[in-house]
């Protein structure tokens, strides 16, 4: 078939036009509104408040679906959520310290019921052993019987210092707590809102959302039971609170009362052991305004390589990676993914035993024993001097977090405001001055004082070291580095790993130990239990009345400058006695879809999701 000239021209014009239109037409890219987050463990409960359900995924989901008075930001500051409510000290004497918490008017539960101060009362039941006992709900300290509200919060600071019960204001929007003294970090121990009307309705066997009037009536029934300590009613509510939220499948058959909350997102559906989907809460007004994300999905993937490939395949948007050098390198290699480094809340440290651990019956007579006087102190100092802290950070941590440094303060971590003020005056310079070779030489000289034949490799001082599970490869590498480095100072370190190591922390046959403390909050007294002579975490048998006095003085609220000064005094004593040295903050790595803006991983819970309202594409 022959085409004439005009047909050819028409064809050419048409095809060029089509091509131009095709190229020039704007690509219609709908703005994404979904964030898919990898969770390493599956959802087990919508209530992370019991001892068994206090898991990361449960807490993250509870955080997205519930707003309270405060939250931790990525700089470990406790931020007040003034959209939800306010709190202030109303009385401040040595024996009577009162704080009033007020919910802003107009805040709503997702079922439309207004939030009031009455919704703050449940917290007291969950935190106070005295109330639990007085109301006949069981003794939380009993080793056999579970209390009616199986909460994980008993025996804390709140429990020890609360006086009486919270009182409601006449407009029912405020609750006042009374403490026996001005407790440090009192902001942490305030109440949180709970949808008590939903609990009451469920305790009464309902499985449908009530009207606002019904809900308020149900709430009144709770307040009455709370005030009159109505054991029967409270026990029913306690059963609902402790057990009914433990679900991992959520669909349209799920009791909607379980899902009533006040956070930015509501749990919409969940497939057991696979994923949880949260959707924007249309009635959300209890916290900062969200920025455009409408759906948040938690997908459970426990394998690091699988998560990395899912990121590359654009199946997921956020992944908090396994902090190993290989994993981080793999994540960095993926196109369209940003890797955010940083640290989490845990920090590794090395301790030296000086006496029998508190609460044990055996004695400690090893090389480091305080009872052997100057000899013990010299050997401890030598041990810490020769401890290869820089080498550990350089070889094991830097490949993961290139900005990692050796931590030099026992009470604070790099990044906290007081850290730079403490390092230096705290006497750590003894362990940081010069090169490691020089310090090892000094250490060897100290050892020689007591073992004249000591030399590198002589193994004159036998030390049994406790560290993590033998299959923890980073800890195993650390132990190997420690063994090699300390051999140069005449130590023979027994680094055989111990299964179930954490059960041996108070075993007096170990002379030294390295592991990590993982605080879940930043408090003035956070380190007290580790070093106080009767502290619950004092596994070292360290008993120093001067230190006890300083730590004791931290138990009341102090201005920041005074806290720093006390920390410096305390650390000087610990460093001088050669008790403990910090090593490094545990590294973290978060890989994020580069298009997603606003992810700022924080070291403290709820580390990844704390600012969900800032996320957007």
């Amino acid at each position: 078939m022959k085409l004439n000239r005009s047909a050819k021209v028409a064809f050419a014009v048409a095809s060029v036009t089509a091509l131009v239109l095709g190229v020039a037409a704007p690509a219609v890219a709908a703005t994404r509104s979904t964030v898919i987050i990898v969770a390493s463990n599956a959802l087990t409960s919508l209530n992370p408040g019991t001892p068994d359900t206090n898991l990361v995924t449960n807490s993250d989901i509870a955080y997205l679906s519930g707003s309270g008075f405060t939250y931790y930001d990525d700089k470990k500051n406790l931020v007040r959520n003034t959209t939800f409510g306010t709190f202030k000290v109303v009385k401040n004497t040595n024996s009577d310290f009162r704080v009033q918490y007020t919910v802003n008017p107009g805040r709503l539960w997702s079922d439309g019921t207004p939030i009031t101060g009455e919704d703050l009362l449940l917290s007291h039941i969950l935190l106070s052993s005295d109330y639990s006992k007085a109301a006949g709900l069981g003794d939380p300290g009993d080793t056999k019987v579970v209390p009616a509200f199986n909460a994980g919060g008993y025996t804390g600071v709140y429990d020890n210092s609360i006086v009486g019960e919270p009182t409601l204001s006449s407009d029912k929007m405020s609750v006042t707590l009374r403490f026996s003294k001005k407790i440090p970090d009192w902001e942490l121990y305030g109440p949180g809102p709970s949808a008590v009307h939903a609990l009451v309705l469920m305790a009464e066997g309902k499985s449908k959302l009530g009207t606002v009037a019904e809900n308020e009536a149900a709430r009144d029934r709770f307040v009455k039971a709370f005030q009159t300590k109505d054991t029967a009613t409270l026990k029913k509510i306690g059963k609902v609170w402790s057990e009914d939220f433990n679900i991992n499948t959520i669909n349209d058959k799920t009791n909607p009362l379980l899902l009533v909350s006040n956070g930015g997102f509501l749990v919409d559906s969940a497939v057991a052991d696979q994923n949880v989907t949260l959707k924007l809460n249309p009635k959300y007004n209890s916290g900062p305004k969200t920025s455009g994300i409408e759906t948040v999905v938690f997908k459970f993937i426990s394998d690091g390589t699988a998560a990395a490939q899912a990121l590359a395949n654009k199946e997921i948007d956020v992944y908090q990676g396994q902090p190993t050098a290989d994993a981080v390198a793999q994540l960095k290699a993926i196109k369209g993914v940003t890797v955010i480094g940083g640290t989490n809340a845990c920090y590794e440290h090395v301790d030296v035993r000086v006496g029998a651990a508190s609460g044990t019956t055996t004695t400690y007579n090893g090389p480091f024993a305080a009872s052997s006087g100057q000899k013990g102190k010299d050997l401890r100092t030598a041990f810490l001097l020769a401890y290869p802290r820089e080498e550990i950070v350089e070889k094991l941590i830097k490949p993961i977090n290139s900005s990692a440094t050796v931590v030099n303060s026992l009470f604070t971590l790099p990044g906290e405001a007081a850290y730079s003020k403490i390092v230096g005056p705290n006497g750590v310079s003894k362990y940081t001055a010069g090169t490691q070779e020089k310090r090892t030489a000094t250490a060897l000289a100290l050892v020689k004082k007591h073992y004249p034949t000591a030399k590198a490799g002589s193994g004159s001082v036998k030390v049994k070291l406790l560290w993590g599970q033998p299959n923890n490869s980073r800890r195993a590498s650390e132990a190997a580095l420690v063994k090699a480095a300390l051999a140069k100072a005449g130590f023979d370190v027994n680094t055989t790993g111990t299964s179930g190591w954490s059960g041996f922390l108070d075993d007096n046959s170990f002379d030294a130990q390295f592991f990590a403390w993982c605080p879940s909050s930043v408090t003035q007294t956070g380190t007290n239990a580790n070093f106080q002579s009767d502290g619950g975490n004092n596994f070292l048998g360290y008993d120093n009345p001067a230190l006890d006095k300083i730590l004791h003085s931290l138990e009341v609220k102090l201005p920041d400058a005074q806290i720093t000064a006390k920390y410096i005094q305390a650390e000087r004593l610990l460093m001088a006695d050669a008790i403990s040295l910090p090593i490094f903050a545990h590294p973290a790595a978060t890989a994020v879809n580069s298009d997603l803006i606003g992810i700022k991983p924080a070291p403290l819970t709820p580390n990844l999701v704390w600012n969900y309202w800032e996320w957007h594409y």
Binding site: D52, N54, L55, D273, A306
Partner: protein, 513 residues
């Protein structure tokens, strides 16, 4: 026989008791469930330790705690079996109840595929003993046998998911791939069919050119982004199936069987559009099963119609052919779903996932979307598991068939003048299956134990994951439940295999001695 079974069951319960006691105590002393709490600086860590000790009865020494656990299991005889709670307050039974279907979904299809593929290839290699194909498959099977699954999984994800999804954005197959694939398929088919040198080159040429032409066509039409077969191709494949099934089932010389199989293909063509209408308007599993039943019914009628004498084989042939043709029709329907599925917001043009069982963002309600979603999530794990496990079946079936072919009764069958098809399919193949049955039964019992690594790398939480999690978090109740179920199943499967063997093979009697 009954006494034999009871005696075996008695021995099994002793084995279960002893091994569970040893495992319980070993697991209990291997680690500390309170590790995380002991290193917590929470002021109420003590309370949490107390609460966990209370829930898990950690204050009871492990050898005694074992009997508390055993009490819960033995309560099963009164109907109230109690596996206890996991350390995150879940009932162990409910954790197992979600894990078992996941594991079955993961491993069942892969095992079936591995068995079918492995036995087929095994038989072909045995029939073409010491041919190039035999050597090639021996090499491949040993290679696959020795591959670590996590590595296979990583490669599959990279090439079949990530790269394939990238490729779908512009589904043009590069020339080099077309050339490579064509040469590869030419080599494989010429090796399988085999013959003298001239014949081999002919086969190679035809297959390579055919593959090249097909791939070029698929590439030019962007077939991979918008796949589908259409009635004509479905009919073509159906006719092929009719010939193939008849050849294996009765031999092509049985005209009645061939005609009835062909009739099934014609009926499928005639019903193509009505079927599409049904698929569009009444799609659910009930419809699929109804269609399956209808297919068998039609095959029965067709078989009766064509067969004058010896109706059984004809009906069988028609039914198998009808079933396979039905699968092709269904496959065609899934292909038509592919493009709409891919265009949904949830999938966003990246249809092959690397992890998980379902896409949580996909709106429920569309039968074809949700079913396809499940299928695409199964593709990679199924391929991975099949690849590493089918090698065993190749070796077993090849070895057994070769042994059977050397038996006297095969020589007798040949001497009788039976044709080769009958000798292989009726006399050799059936006897090959006897020892393979034993292996299969034990393999299926092993399925429930899960595939720890496969589940982990594909993000499936099945029995393997539970087992792994239980070990790592020192969750004794969970560990023991997984152990108890897998151990019971495997000892029972061994018993069943023994009984089956004696039922299948008349030379063996279970019981005395």
């Amino acid at each position: 026989m009954v006494a034999y079974i009871f005696r075996r069951l008695g021995i099994l319960s002793v084995i279960l008791f002893g091994s569970s006691f040893i495992l319980y105590n070993l697991a209990a002393i291997s680690g500390d469930p309170l590790e995380a709490l002991r290193t917590s600086t929470d002021p109420n860590a003590k309370q949490q330790i107390l609460a966990l000790t209370r829930t898990l009865q950690l204050d009871v020494p492990p050898p005694l705690r074992y009997f508390l656990w055993l009490k819960g299991i033995l309560a099963g005889f009164t109907g109230h079996i109690d596996f206890g709670k996991t350390r995150d307050a879940q009932l162990v039974t409910s954790a197992i109840a979600t894990a078992v279907p996941t594991t079955i979904r993961l491993v069942f299809l892969a095992t079936i595929t591995a068995i079918v593929l492995g036995i087929t290839i095994g038989i072909v290699t045995a029939l073409r003993q010491y041919s190039r194909f035999d050597y090639a498959m021996t090499f491949v099977s040993f290679l696959m046998f020795s591959l670590p699954i996590f590595w296979v999984a990583v490669l599959l994800k990279e090439f079949l998911a990530i790269q394939f999804n990238n490729f779908l954005a512009n589904p043009q197959i590069p020339i080099i791939w077309i050339t490579g694939l064509s040469v590869a398929s030419g080599v494989i088919w010429s090796a399988i069919i085999s013959g003298d040198r001239k014949r081999v080159w002919q086969i190679f040429g035809v297959v390579a050119l055919g593959t090249a032409a097909l791939l070029t066509l698929l590439s030019l039409t962007s077939w991979f982004a918008k796949p589908g077969l259409g009635p004509i191709v479905v009919f073509g494949i159906s006719i092929g199936i009719a010939y193939g099934v008849t050849q294996l089932s009765t031999g092509l010389q049985n005209k009645a069987a061939l005609r009835s199989a062909q009739a099934m293909a014609v009926i499928a063509l005639v019903l193509y559009y009505p079927n599409q209408w049904l698929f569009d308007h009444h799609a659910n599993w009930l419809l699929i099963f109804a269609q399956l039943a209808a297919t068998i019914g039609i095959a029965f009628v067709v078989g009766l119609k064509f067969a004058k004498i010896d109706r059984g084989p004809t009906i069988r042939t028609a039914a198998i052919a009808g079933f396979l043709i039905g699968i092709i029709t269904l496959l065609d329907r899934f292909m038509q779903t592919w493009n709409p599925y891919m265009s949904t917001d949830a999938v966003n043009f990246r249809p092959i996932p690397t992890t998980g069982q379902v896409n949580p963002l996909l709106e429920p309600g569309n039968f074809w979307f949700t079913t396809l979603d499940i299928l695409v999530h199964m593709i990679l794990p199924t391929i991975a598991l099949t690849l590493i496990s089918f090698a065993g079946y190749i070796r077993y079936s090849r070895g057994t068939l070769l042994e059977v072919l050397n038996q006297d009764y095969i020589r007798t069958a040949r001497a009788k003048g039976l044709n080769e098809r009958t000798v292989i399919m009726r006399h050799a193949f059936r006897n090959t299956m006897i020892p393979l049955t034993t292996i299969m039964v034990v393999d299926f019992a092993g399925l429930i134990g899960g595939a720890i690594i496969t589940e982990r790398v594909f993000g499936w939480i099945g029995m393997g994951t539970l087992f792994n999690k239980a070990i790592n978090s020192f969750d004794l109740n969970l560990l023991m439940a997984v152990f108890f179920i897998t151990a019971s199943l495997s000892v029972i499967a061994n018993l069943v295999a023994d009984l089956l063997y004696s039922a299948l093979d008349p030379r063996i009697r279970a019981g005395k001695g």
